[in-house]
Amino acid sequence: MGMIRYLIYSLSLLLCASVAWADCNGSADVAVPETLEKSISKPSMQVATVDMNAPKVVSPISSEKMKKTTKVTQETNLEAHAEANDCTGISMDELVQRLKESKAIGFFTKLAIRADVLDFKQYVDDLKKKRALDMEMPKVHESFNGLVLKIMALLEEDPDLSEKIYTARASILKSLLEVKS
């Protein structure tokens, strides 16, 4: 009888855990496009239709205005996307701690990853000093995505942590870009 009670307790625990996990991960994948659709698609779609359908009618002043509007909406998109990706339920410190504790990768591999992250930070700092960060942003993103992919490939044996890093990638990049030299 006690065993059955234990089994029911285990089942409810599993159910709670899966609901909490789905809230953050599963629904994040689904919810991101929805929230983005709500906050972004309407203004950007309007701009797009004006640009596509009536390019000759639009005056240079209004097209400049539209470019500004598009830029603002794109920035809002990025912020919204970063915020939407923030649904990780895990802080940076916790993430670093979990990487340190993970048994999926060995000590020397962790050191190598750490060196790669430090190199990336150095690269960002150099760009900041040259005031070329905005210009080189696509390269920064490319380099960061490569780093994340590398870490995810190494964390093949720890899919939970790998997923958390993937979900939190926007906030990780944000925090790396905000680090003062």
């Binding site: 065993m3 048994k103 060995g106 050191l111 190598a112 990853i113």
Partner: protein, 85 residues
């Protein structure tokens, strides 16, 4: 009742037994070599020699399955460099 008990025990095992995977040192060194862009030809190295100096710098020499021998320098600051021998 027996089936219930059996499935309960199995379920608890699945739930509460943590994964026992851990990377061996040979695998760790092989991954580090590959992470630095060198071919190793396998998941594990052999013939591992380790040396450490008073400053805390470490030098590891290991042979990959493809026969290539590498030296891994780990500085006291935690910087990792790999060079083929």
């Amino acid at each position: 009742m027996k089936t219930w008990l059996g499935s309960g025990v199995l379920f608890s095992l699945v739930l509460f037994v943590s994964p026992a995977w851990a990377v061996s040192e040979a695998q760790d060194i092989a991954t580090t070599i590959m992470l630095r862009g060198y071919a190793c030809g396998g998941q594990q190295v052999s013939q591992i020699d380790k040396q450490a100096d008073a400053q805390g710098n470490q030098v590891i020499r290991a042979t990959c399955p493809n026969g290539q021998r590498y030296q891994i320098d780990v500085s006291a600051a935690g910087r990792v460099k790999v060079k083929p021998l």
